[in-house]
Symmetry: C2
């Protein structure tokens, strides 16, 4: 670090600094597909476009805390899983000024997704259309969840389509060696529900016996002995996720 950079660092007025923000992808599953909660922008820029909830990072606030605050203030919930995705810092991403944004991914099980959606009516639940297989990458489109099947895709503000794509990419990448899948399930769940989560995120069907073998052999699942209620056929056993140690 050179001497004048040093001094500039001590004098906040010496050089202009980029503003620092966080944007949070609120991700859940709806109808067997990934879904996210978006906010409609009222003002310029991108008025009428849809954006991820976000906010500036306070001077006395960690990045994680800023993401948690956004989650609390904009969605009224605390996500069980919140992780940093990537930091976006291209020059034109916000036409007003230089804003560097740290993207976060929050995973919401059905209950939390519904609670945020109902408690904050300005949050629009949107189905994500992922037109690529595996971890190929590429754009992700968002469609209104309620509405006719032939709706127009939602126009996304800023570089938020890229951020959504990165969220899917990250999730797919770590799904089968980490515990992220369980963050999208309630405390008790059946193996079929777990497989549904994996299939929804990966966007492809999985082999049932192989999936059950893998999951059970991992040793992260504790059978509860209880069974699911409300089915009109043979009820499945409920499992609990046992955090690996």
């Amino acid at each position: 670090m050179s001497e004048d950079a040093f001094l500039a660092a001590y004098d906040p007025a010496a050089y202009e600094r980029p503003a620092l923000a966080v944007d949070v992808v609120l991700l859940g599953l709806r109808e067997g597909r990934p879904a996210a909660l978006l906010l409609r922008r009222a003002q310029h820029p991108f008025a009428g476009f849809w954006a991820l909830p976000g906010g500036f990072v306070g001077i006395g606030e960690t990045l994680d805390a800023a993401a948690e605050r956004v989650l609390r203030e904009k969605a009224g919930i605390a996500a069980p899983h919140l992780e940093q995705l990537y930091t976006f810092g291209t020059l034109g991403r916000d036409p007003r000024m230089r804003i560097v944004s740290v993207a976060y991914l929050a995973l919401l099980p059905d209950r939390a997704f519904a609670a945020a959606s109902e408690g904050m009516p300005e949050l629009m639940p949107a189905r994500l259309d992922v037109p690529w297989r595996g971890e190929a990458g590429g754009p992700v489109a968002a469609f209104p969840l309620q509405g006719s099947a032939r709706s127009e895709p939602l126009s996304l503000a800023f570089d938020h389509a890229d951020i959504l794509a990165l969220a899917i990419l990250r999730l797919r990448g770590k799904l089968d060696y980490s515990d992220v899948g369980f963050a999208l399930l309630p405390e008790l769940f059946t193996l079929r529900q777990l497989q549904d989560v994996h299939e929804a995120i990966l966007g492809l069907p999985l082999n049932k016996p192989a999936f059950r073998r893998r999951m059970l052999d991992r040793g992260w699942l504790e059978p509860t002995g209880a069974r699911e209620a409300g089915s009109s056929f043979r009820p499945a056993e409920l499992y609990r996720f046992l955090r690996p140690r």
Copy 2:
């Protein structure tokens, strides 16, 4: 985004902002192990400690450009592979002021590593000691490369030990589905050199026939017909990395 946050965003003086920096891990391989180039800090804080090369992000500079500039100014090179790792934003990481730092990973093949090391004598080549297997994670220690075998570990400034650990973690994670391994090799290389790179990063020996099968079946390698020179035994064929499309 609330109205007053909006206004504050337009008025840089309204709220204090964190300073934004980049720190770059200059990673290469030495003696079959990961190695990094570090700078000795002259001033407080962490005077005498070893730190990653870094610098503040200019107001008109992207994050990637800032990392490239650090690489150019502090190491005198342009890395063939430069990727963002993670953004560190805890409150106490720099005792002087609030600095949020975007960590980058630069991969240097032998020639670039040596060129930086020789061209910039203040850069200390340090062997990284990774005491965990796979992607378990945990601290990483740095030792002087030249020096007695029983040296003390280098004291690392700030949270730079965490950044080094993350670099290894990321590299291990994407080594066998991405092309990062080739960034540590010259344009022409033998399969043995490629295996050496993988073994050095993973920290474990690999099965030779299986490794060759995997690499050749991937279709990323183009045999050149040429053979390595200078060996006192059977020379191996030289391959070229063909970017997958």
